[in-house]
Amino acid sequence: MANGTAKLAGLVFSRETFAKLTPGPFLQAHLQQPEPIRPNGRSLDAFRTPTIHTGSLSHSNGSAVVRLGDTAVVCGVRAEILLASDIPHPPSEDTSEDDLVERLGLLVPNALSYRVLSLMHTSNLIKPGDLRIQYTEPATEDDLPDDGPKIVTKAFWALYIDVLCIALDGNPFDAAWAAVIAALKSTRLPRAWWDPDREMILCSPLANETHGLRLDDIPVASTFAVFSTGSALKQRSEAESWVLADPDGFEEDVCSETVTAVVRSDGGGVESITRLEKSGGDAIDKAAMGRCVHMAQQRWREWQGVLHGG
């Protein structure tokens, strides 16, 4: 047991009591060992191994449960049809494809994470083409013979994404993001078309006529917490800090600084960063951020295996 305290006469604490009374020094005692180790037994840059189960919710078009250690997040995706005529404020012609998904509100999250929604839009994860229900109007006598057939978008699929954290032991964001990705990957949308005679959208109930969503180069999120001994009451030069990958609940409470990196890699091996966030303290500098990004990129490779295999 990595318990750094000396036995004082009459004052002996169990490990758990030490952790509860003074969490900061407890963590510091672990990290200051010659081989730094965290109270949960992991090394500094070890992430927890994720497990993913998809398709567990029968009423949704797609679902996933992601477990990251003791943190568990469920995500369900329901698809509903949004008629083009019902859209109160249709966007103008020159709205680019990328912005369309955001403007029309086609991805509707619930309260859990503004960050998750914001990331979905920034990463242009879903292509609007997948969500369109289009209709090729038949040629009428008025059309000029050279014009191609007119394709009108009659409706869109709106995806209602419900994310629920069922167990929390630190780092819900990484798990939530992974759950959303996994759920979207497993989402099947029925084939839908516009029936001109009945003036409504019809869907096919056949399972083999469903189509999935195109999710290329999936971005993966990695969060780090930074534990620092610096404080206003001490000399700046005395401060020590450690970067902990994938913090659990105890570590999250004790650390005030966090870094989140969302990275993706396209087919050609070019790696890019979609979102980089760091706030809280002053211990992380440029070099440390670089190390975090490298760790995040390695983590991306780990996740690919789990997401595609699972």
């Binding site: 503004y114 839009h121 960063i273 966030e277 706030s279």
Partner: protein, 240 residues
Amino acid sequence: MGPDISHHPLHGADGSVTFSSKLCSILAAANGPVEVQRRDELPEEAAVEVNIRPVSGVSGPRERWLESVVAAVLRSVLHLHMHPRTLIQVTLQITKAPSSTLKGAVQDVALLPSLINASFLALADGGLPLRNTVAAVLLAVVSTGEVREEPSEKELVGCKSLHGLAYNNHGDLLLSESAGGFDLAEWERIADQAEETCRAAMAPLDEDGVVMEGTTSSGPWLRQELTDKAQAAVAWREAT
């Protein structure tokens, strides 16, 4: 040509400032240390509460997230240990925001540096104990690949990535929020440029209180601002 700042516009709050950059205008007020709710009380330091009010509509999850980021930065800037079991309250009213046609994440990152600068100035105006000076800057990588500091709204449309960074006077990185598509090398270049700008914002003025030569576009606006304030406060002594 720095941001537009006006001193102490409000009478009810301990410290207040209006801060206008190219993209947004923010009215910031700081109150503290004041009495804190039992449930928020911390035994060894002051609690920090940030409230952000958008231009239109009520505050929602977006404002909650911005508040948590700003509060995290302010905890490194304030001397929390000087006033334990009290509350330091910062309110930020956005009076002009970047256009809502921009992507959500772009709008958020664009607001953050101004929110932080405005909060800091309001805290300084209110005389709250501060252990660091912080300056924040917004940088955009436009579609051509160039890096623009304090971009205009036009430059934000279709920008490849947007970065908001804040440094303190010791050169520590207090905040980095980036959104878009970029790689590590690009970020490191941007971080360098941001550090230079923030350092310049806090750079000492020469003897006459004049802007030093060779500084970046906005110059030592923060230092100038605080110097002017301090001089105004003792003006009565020099007049007599």
